[in-house]
Amino acid sequence: MRPRIAFFDFASCEGCQLAILNCEDRLLDLLQLVDIVEFREALSEKGARYDVAFVEGSIHREIDAERLRDIRARSRLLVALGACASTGNVQAAANALSPAENFARVYGEAARNRVQADRRHWPLWAHTRVRPIEEVVEVDHHLRGCPVVPEEFLRFLGHVLAGTRPMERPHAVCTECKAAGVRCVFERGETCMGQVTWAGCRAICTRQGYRCDGCRGLLPDANLAAHRRVLREHGLDDEAIDARYDLFCAAGRQAIEEGPL
């Protein structure tokens, strides 16, 4: 039986689904191997079961959390597709303020009160903190990055077809800089998150003349104290260091430095 796979999205730019659509050369071959049963959420098919659910996007509201739990209950494997689902991505920086503060900051109190009074529509606006999907449901595998790396997606599918899933090596992006012969960003006088970031992107940013900003998320054993020291030696103050972490890894830094929530 061909595995039934489905794609779902929450708060995201939908770029990861696009990245997969962008596997043009292999897309049609892929369709011979799997049944894509959903590429856009349609809950009309309630009760449908999936072998693999790819979930893109972070969770911001209780209505979304509910939908995600329902997807989990109907899926054998649930995969976090991309940075929003894996880490909360850039929007997790909004957690620096409470949802109420965020709302008030951009809409004003009066608007908030008015929307809140509208029982029919309030759930659309009722934000919790920005959560990676792991905070809501159990996740079987992560396809990391903003956006995901199509090769990793294909590799994952290859494993699923064989009834297993790949093992992630908890290596830093530096390993891929080395393999690519990239001169270290620090030697160029800039600063970099690659040392504490999950590899797997083939160091695409540093290869393209930029630095790594950590979109694949912080490694579980990242030595942040040491990394902070390196950043400080290269001219960042504590505030700038926090800002750098919080670009893509706001949720991860909180988890490592402040312990579990």
Binding site: T175, C184, V230
Partner: protein
């Protein structure tokens, strides 16, 4: 045919560039970003060949890594008639000339030749290696402030090169070390040098002393000190700042550990290739086994293992006094500034027997 010649820099460059007509020439070259990389040279590109004679500084990655490039394919497979599979090794025997190799890297290649040929010879390394001619360049001054090649016994290493080049009295001495080297020299315009050993002596006499950073003890003493320092706080001290990024392993000319990875082709079910990637003992999970146990989870234990490999384990297993060649890359490229030279100096200075016991968990 001459075994040694004196030639001008210009004719050496012509000679190197012209080798491109018979084999791929790979030579050091400085990129726009300032880094030096060993790169293929267009046949006849004399200007690009300048790096062979002109460059200071170690290359970003050691030239010896050419023999086991990252992600190399070990074999491919495809379906067989009986429903099983066919495998085909991928051995790269394309002829090459590796030019401008410094003595430290040359010594590393020499050591890796030994490692890869000992026990079960690695066919992939050896295929590339055997198809490669090497022209070395003796250093007239330390290539960087991190260099400690003399302390590691690499400065006068020539073995492994087919031809050694050296600056002597404003000219280039080209000295063939192998029969292949002798035949290579046939194409070099120059005058015969009757007494190459005397020329080498003049080259050495013109070098600064000490050459690069010096250590307060011999390599043999360092090996003993490393072994004795098992529970010494030196390991913890030199890992507090460590990010476990693996850079020190991956840029080292004598680190060769690897992991394997299978790649399949979704368009052709039943076909694929097994590749190998560089791995390193400082990286998380290197010694982890199923069930979650990691034999070297502790960073200090990983550092101890890495340094022991250079100064104790590999020397014991394969001979030679040390497997660090003193190129200085690991210290230079470590953003936390952890330098194996400093560790070596501390090991030699410390008398581990008096040092307070600090148990490093394995």
């Amino acid at each position: 045919m001459a075994e040694a010649l004196y030639a001008s820099s210009e004719s050496v460059l012509d000679w190197i560039a012209n080798q491109g007509s018979t084999r791929a020439v790979i030579a050091p070259r400085q990129g726009d970003d300032g880094a030096i990389r060993y790169e293929p040279l267009e046949p006849g590109d004399r200007e690009a060949a300048r790096g062979v004679l002109a460059l200071a500084g170690p290359s970003l990655l050691p030239p010896g890594k050419l023999f086991s490039p990252p992600g190399e394919v070990l074999f491919t497979w495809g379906p067989a008639e009986d429903g099983s599979f066919r495998v085909e090794p991928r051995l790269d025997r394309a002829p090459r000339l590796l030019a401008g190799v410094h003595p430290c890297d040359l010594r590393a290649i020499h050591l890796m030749d030994r490692v890869q040929a000992d026990g079960n010879p690695d066919p992939h390394y050896l295929a590339r290696r055997e198809a490669t001619a090497i022209v070395g360049l003796a250093c007239s001054e330390p290539c960087s402030e991190r260099c400690f090649c003399e302390a590691m016994g690499s400065l006068d290493h020539h073995e492994g090169a087919d031809v050694m080049l050296a600056a002597v009295d404003g000219r280039i001495l080209a000295h063939a070390r192998t029969p292949l080297g002798v035949s290579l020299l046939a194409d070099l315009a120059g005058e015969p040098c009757a007494d190459p050993e005397a020329a080498w002596a003049r080259h050495r006499a013109a070098r600064p002393e000490p050459f690069g950073r010096a250590l307060p003890g011999s390599r043999e003493a360092l090996g003993r000190a490393t072994t004795a320092a098992w529970s010494d706080p030196v390991w913890t001290r030199h890992t507090e700042a460590c990010l476990a990024c693996g850079t020190c392993n991956l840029v080292c000319p004598t680190c060769y550990c690897f992991d394997t990875r299978d790649e399949i082709d979704v368009a052709h079910p039943g076909c694929g290739e097994r590749c190998r990637d560089w791995d390193g003992c400082m990286l998380p999970g290197f010694a982890a086994v199923a069930g979650g146990h990691d034999f070297r989870r502790d960073l200090a234990a990983r550092q101890r293992h890495r340094v022991n490999r250079k100064f104790a384990y590999l020397p014991a297993a394969h001979g030679d006094a040390s497997f660090c060649v003193g190129c200085g890359r690991c210290g230079a490229q470590c953003t936390a500034n952890i330098d194996i030279f400093d560790i070596a100096r501390d090991l030699l200075a410390g008398s581990p027997d008096d040092a307070p016991e600090a148990e490093v968990s394995a």
